[in-house]
Amino acid sequence: MVWLHTRWAIVAGMKRWTVLGACVVALAGMLTSSACQNMPGPFAPPVQRQPLADFRPYRISGIVNMSDADAQTRFVQDITGLQAATWRWTGKRPTVRVMTRSTENLKYTIDFAIVEATLATTGPVTVTFLVNDRVLDRARYTHAGSQHFEKPIPAGWVTAGEDVTVGAEVDKLWVPADNSPKLGMILVRMGLTQ
């Protein structure tokens, strides 16, 4: 009898633990299934936004992205029409005009690319980086590919609230076979950053 009682106690105990386990599993199941009920039904199209009537183009910007719709308004010279979503061919001395509200921590910034096909013809090129026609620095490029250059601008070179010309001069140009204009580099963005 004692043996039986002991065994029954264990079984009964197990049952209780099983019930407890089952409760936990059921609760977890409830939680999980409720997670699937959160999805909203389909929506109708919203009110259609109409073009703004009071557009005013962005005037003051330190940097000119070639993809900007109003980028052309900042070109000074030697930048061609848009070639792709984000870049343009340049001539010898691509230059843009920018303005900045502050002269603190200003950096000349340019993202460009040297094309393998042009490099094969011209050989290594030297690019001179200019701010208000003053030479900030020079760099020699012997390999094709994307390039990034930035350098702090010395104090006094730029006046807050006034136009600044930012340029880059390529020493050797590539002459296309069809005698179309000579090309320098592929320009992505150029200007001043802080």
């Binding site: 959160n38 199209p45 259609q48 703004l52 009071d54 962005y58 910007s61 993809s67 509200r101």
Partner: protein, 746 residues
């Protein structure tokens, strides 16, 4: 000066009411406790009970000053009237050896010196990063509206068990009162740890453990600010303490039905506090696992566990239920991949969690030095904790084994957020273990305490660490000899920004901000960019104005022979890399060069992130639907035209930051199955609208947000500052490292 008195009074009555509530419950449960352990344990237990009542008050929207004062006064009066306050019926007669004079001196000196420093810091105006931001930001807001509100903010989704106690304190004494309540938890924890040492017959180990935790620099700064970490540690340790009391009682009364019932009663505090630990901070939940496991092991019966589970549910249940009802996610703001909801984006949770797991450290190898000495993870626990491996020597004691097991369990959640503060809940266990490891060697333990006290003394810390810590003894600010406003302006730039918003923005207007500010110092709702899915989407729209990668510069065009279709979808078929999601500014359908007008009968849906699908159909290139998960096969945008339409071209306008995604176009056939119409869409550049900046801010304006706060250090700040008018903004305030803008539209 009245501010100082109000702060002290607000904190004082809240703390006393907590103690009173705990004393009443202990009296009802007829638990015999020594005086030295009854005070801290009753305070923490009462805090748990009081938090629940305040939760109910907020849920009922009756959080008025008289209600809160009546609650505090009533609780104290009841405890005094019944004698529970003094513990007349429950004073333990068990003799405990008194502390030696040396121990009294060292303990008193350390706790006294650090305690005064902490008290003064807590009493001074609140300048911590998170305290006046979200811990008290929501408290202030709840008091303004006299109850809870469903706030789409990930911090509002966290359980706020300790912040509930800040509600009455803040109502009376504002920010400093809340910090002082937290300071009371810091004191209670130290007292409880000392009492535990005495309970197990090792007062030196108890005192050493208490000092190691109490003087720890991160405990000092967090425990004297309106945070919740030290309170959580006190709650977690109280759970452990009560399991020890229950176990001790069980061993003493192995026979007798009456004593068994009394033993069961002892599990009520265990269960309540285990639930309250979850309510205080999600990451403290492992202490419940310890408690349940310990009781299951020792009792080997289900009834005690059911009782504990019921009590724990009383404490944790309201928070889980609130989140379930309001945010469709019982564990919000986590688990959004399972409990999908429109309030927190899945990818944000993944990104944020990833950052919290690393804090930008390249690997976790330097972590021990960071959390003990350098502090790049936000504070240090102190160099003495480099000796922590010695704590394993405590395994030779039963108490040591239990402490280390409980500590290890509480520590198990630490790697989800490696901020030093997240070590605080397991610190009491490891500190006591370290104390135990050195046995009862008074000279060693005295040396350890004094060494820790010296290297953790605030003026000493700055000699070896630049971490977040207490810096100055701000008694003039505490007593408001230095005016509160002056002190806050000098010590918290965010305060000045908050006051600028208060002065410049009309009442009731929300402000979108890229970075956070101390919300509780303004009455305006600050919509911080990453605090909710809605804010994140709005910020994405704003960023579209200046960030090339976000702008609608690419069109993906499907062209195919004209066909009739009632329902079409664009299916994403490629697996992108981490963080790259699928986004669509606009999805347009064409027939013979004419766009199909979007009729009201159309039904549009998306997977995932179905809530924001309309952003791809609103005719605005300044908004976009994003998957908010890494782009993966099976994601789709689905349009039911409501009738058969002729279509020969579909255009997805998207951005150049979407690279590794592939789409195919499908149409639903008569049998209800999807069949492929076209894939490999032609990709062409598309000009970005020149007024994209103004379009972006117009979207913000159209959603009722007319004010924008940009810190000078925010990405794109110079673009806004350069020409606000082109953005459709007027600058209405500037200073303290930020600019405040208002949209131009009325």
């Amino acid at each position: 000066m009245w501010q100082a008195i109000a702060a002290l009074f607000g904190a004082g009555v809240t703390v006393l009411a907590c103690y009173a509530a705990g004393a009443l419950l202990i009296d009802q449960l007829c638990v015999a406790l020594r005086r030295d352990e009854r005070i801290p344990l009753a305070f923490v237990l009462g805090a748990a009970c009081l938090h629940l009542v305040i939760f109910a008050i907020l849920a009922l929207h009756i959080a008025y000053w008289p209600v809160l004062v009546a609650l505090l006064a009533g609780t104290m009066a009841a405890a005094i009237a019944t004698g529970a306050w003094r513990g007349v019926r429950t004073e333990s007669a068990k003799p405990v050896p008194p502390l030696s004079k040396t121990l009294q001196l060292i303990f008193g000196l350390c706790v006294g010196a650090f305690g005064i420093f902490y008290l003064v810091h807590a009493w001074a105006p609140e300048t911590s990063p998170d305290g006046p931001a979200y811990h008290l930001g929501f408290v202030a807001r709840e008091l303004r509206v006299h109850g809870f509100e469903p706030i789409a903010n990930l911090y509002a989704m966290l359980s706020a068990g300790v912040e509930m106690l800040y509600v009455p304190a803040f109502a009376i004494g504002r920010h400093s009162a809340a910090a002082l309540v937290h300071f009371a938890f810091t004191i209670a924890l130290a007292l409880a740890m000392l009492a535990y040492g005495r309970r197990i017959g090792k007062p030196w180990a108890g005192a050493a453990g208490a000092i190691l935790t109490f003087a720890s620099p991160v405990v000092g700064i967090a425990g004297s600010s309106a945070y919740v970490d030290v309170a959580t540690a006190a709650i977690v340790f109280a759970v452990f303490y009560w399991t020890e009391i229950w176990d001790g009682h069980k061993d003493e009364h192995k026979d007798g039905h009456k004593d068994e019932r009394r033993g069961l009663r002892l599990l009520i505090p265990v269960g309540l506090l285990a639930g309250y630990a979850f309510a205080a901070k999600y990451t403290a939940f492992p202490i419940a696992i310890y408690a349940f496991g310990f009781v299951a092991w020792r009792a080997k019966r289900i009834r005690p566990l059911l009782l504990m589970a019921g009590c724990a549910l009383i404490m944790a249940g309201p928070w889980v239920t609130r989140n379930w009802i309001w945010y469709q996610n019982p564990f919000a703001p986590f688990g959004n991949g399972l409990f999908r909801n429109p309030y927190v984006h899945v990818l944000f949770e993944q990104d944020y969690s990833e950052w919290l797991r690393s804090y930008g450290l390249p690997s976790l190898r330097p972590l021990p030095l960071e959390v003990t000495i350098n502090g790049s993870t936000g504070g240090i626990i102190g160099p003495v904790f480099l000796l922590l491996p010695l704590a394993l020597l405590a395994l030779r004691y039963q108490a040591g084994r239990r402490l280390l097991l409980a500590g290890a369990l509480v520590f198990s959640t630490y790697f989800a957020n490696i901020g030093t503060r997240f070590l605080i809940p397991c610190l009491p266990f490891f500190s006591l273990s370290l104390g135990l490891a050195l046995g009862e060697s008074a000279p060693l333990l005295a040396g350890l305490m004094l060494l820790h006290a010296v290297v953790s003394w605030p003026p000493v810390i700055k000699r070896y660490s630049q971490s977040w810590r207490l810096e100055r003894f701000t008694y003039r600010a505490a007593l408001r000899i230095t005016p509160q406003d002056e002190f806050l302006r000098a010590n918290n730039s965010g305060y000045s920004i908050a006051r600028m918003i208060e002065a410049k923005v009309p009442a009731g207007e929300p402000v979108l901000a890229i970075g956070g500010i101390p919300d509780s110092y303004t009455t305006h709702e600050i919509l911080v960019s990453y605090h909710s899915a809605g804010n994140e989407t709005l910020t994405d729209t704003i960023n579209m104005g200046w960030s090339d990668g976000f702008q609608p510069s690419v069109a993906r065009i499907f062209q195919f022979p004209e066909r009739k279709a009632r329902r079409m979808r664009v299916l994403q078929t490629a697996q992108a890399r981490h963080r790259e999601q699928w986004s669509v500014h606009e999805l347009r359908f064409y027939d013979r060069g004419q766009e199909l007008p979007r009729r009201l009968e159309w039904r549009i849906q998306a997977w995932p992130n179905p809530w924001e699908v309309q952003l791809a159909f609103d005719n605005s290139l300044a908004t976009r639907w994003r998957s908010q998960e890494v782009a993966a096969p099976g994601m789709y945008l689905d349009v039911d035209f409501g009738r058969e339409e002729s279509v020969d071209e579909v255009r997805l306008i998207t951005s150049s930051d979407i690279i590794r995604t592939r789409q195919q176009l499908e149409s639903m056939n008569a049998a209800g199955g999807w069949e492929k119409v076209a894939d490999n869409p032609r990709q062409v550049s598309q000009p970005v609208p020149p007024d994209i900046r103004r379009m972006a801010t117009y979207e913000m304006h159209a959603r009722g947000v007319h004010y924008l706060l940009i810190h000078d250090s925010d990405f794109g700040a110079e673009d806004f500052a350069g020409d606000p008018e082109a953005w459709g903004l007027n600058e209405i305030g500037r200073g303290y490292g930020a600019r405040l803008y208002q949209t131009i539209w009325k």
